[in-house]
């Protein structure tokens, strides 16, 4: 088994993105921690090797944009362009960020509890 190759050496970033440093204007904004996953049942035929690698990586896996960039060994900006293109073609979907921890009681709930307490008196 050969060690992982440094692809970046030969195929330059501008060829991977077609010279783009930012996604199309209409594309959803992906920040570092936006979670992406592969849409089920989409064929990867016709995709570039980097796009295919992103889809393979995200099959059955939810990863943050920054993790995808690291795993694909691509710069973050390049990864963003790559992922936005795949979102546009329907190969990927964005997921909601993980559910937040149980929040402390909100004010309304506190007031409701006080009300219930008073009524019980």
């Amino acid at each position: 088994m050969s060690p992982p190759r440094r692809r970046g050496d030969l195929v330059r970033a501008y060829v991977i993105t077609g010279g783009r440093a930012r996604p199309e204007r209409s594309a959803p904004v992906l920040d570092l921690v936006t979670i992406v996953a592969a849409a089920p049942g989409r064929s990867t035929t016709g995709l570039t090797p980097e796009q295919r690698a992103a889809v393979h990586l995200l099959r059955g896996r939810h990863l943050a944009v920054v993790e995808v960039a690291s795993r694909l060994a691509q710069p973050l900006t390049v990864t963003r362009v790559l992922l936005c293109d795949l979102l546009a073609t329907g190969h990927l979907v964005t997921m909601l960020p993980p559910a937040p921890l149980p929040e402390p009681l909100t004010e309304v709930q506190v007031l409701e509890r006080v009300l219930h307490g008073l009524q019980a008196l």
Partner: protein
């Protein structure tokens, strides 16, 4: 009794006859000698002529070729060393740009870096091409590389890279590491020619085709093709048994790209053929890769997946 005067007259006459006879005999001798001499001269001339012909056929071309070799060697020293220096600088620049691309997240900065990277890649190609024509070989080492990345590596090094459409090869074999850089360089020269000599609105297509021993990389453009004189010149440069292209044979205006292809093809054992057979009406360039230059794929599917690289993205965002 004849008188004395008569005797003298007769004597005079016979002396005259004798003299004439002697003269005739002498003349004959002279003529014979002359004939002998001139035939000797003729054979000497013939010998000289054949000697001269031998010189013209053997010695002279050898001397001319020797002088040509010496002149070419003397002429290519400086450009070769300049080419090497430029290659080194462009390499350093590319390394720095890659580093910066991995560190910066601002699209404006990255946009500029992509342009700089593209310029460096073209500088590298031109310098590497000049070094090859000056008799040195590409030094860059690569692992065995999938065909599609060899093609896109070549696309990375030309000016009009957006116009090239790469049909993903069905063949999943890789190109052996030793050949990768030479093949990328040759293919880049063919792509540069294809994009340069066709309308900017048209596409240039690269696809692979299986051939009996190995496979062929085909570059097709929609340009105006080659006229007869151009085709002859191209065939001459690319002829595997023709004169080795060097700095003095690239012509003016220089046909450097094809000379680079011809030299790299000889060196690494692939073939380059250029004709008018493009499916889009222009020039078709075919690079023939024998099976010996191909190897099993590196690993299918997820070759691009590197282990997580902690040095890369700083969660802290742009700096």
């Amino acid at each position: 009794m004849p008188d004395t005067a008569e005797i003298l007259r007769l004597l005079g006459e016979s002396a005259l006859v004798c003299a004439v006879a002697a003269l005739v005999i002498r003349l004959r001798g002279v003529r014979r000698a002359h004939r002998k001499e001139s035939s000797a001269a003729r054979s000497r001339t013939r010998a000289l002529e054949s000697e001269l012909a031998r010189h013209r056929a053997e010695v002279l071309p050898e001397a001319v070729a020797g002088a040509h070799r010496r002149a070419a060697q003397a002429a290519q020293g400086l450009p070769r060393s300049v080419a090497r220096t430029v290659q080194g600088l462009a390499h350093g620049q590319q390394k720095k740009i890659t580093e910066m691309l991995n560190r910066h997240d601002d699209p404006d900065v990255v946009e500029g870096l992509l342009v700089l990277d593209h310029h460096s890649a073209q500088m590298l190609r031109r310098a590497a091409g000049l070094a090859v024509v000056c008799g040195s070989w590409p030094g860059r080492q690569h692992d065995a590389t999938p065909l599609i990345d060899v093609v896109r590596g070549a696309v990375s090094r030309i000016q009009d890279y957006r116009r090239v459409r790469t049909v993903p090869p069905a063949d999943d074999r890789a190109v052996t590491g030793r050949v990768v850089e030479g093949l990328v360089l040759a293919l880049a020269e063919l792509l540069e020619n294809a994009t340069r000599y066709s309308h900017p609105d048209t596409r240039v297509q690269v696809h692979t085709r299986p051939v009996p021993d190995g496979l062929a990389l085909v570059v097709e453009d929609a340009g105006i093709g080659l006229d007869q004189a151009e085709r002859r010149r191209v065939e001459q440069i690319l002829a595997p048994d023709g004169p080795v292209p060097d700095l003095t044979r690239v012509g003016d205006p220089p046909q450097g790209g094809l000379a680079v292809c011809a030299l790299l093809a000889r060196r690494y054992g692939f073939t380059v053929h250029v004709d008018d057979g493009s499916a889009f009406g222009g020039v078709r360039a075919v690079v023939g890769l024998p099976g010996a230059l191909l190897t099993t794929p590196v690993t299918a599917g997820d070759t691009t997946l590197a282990p997580p690289a902690p040095r890369r993205h700083d969660a802290g965002g742009p700096r």
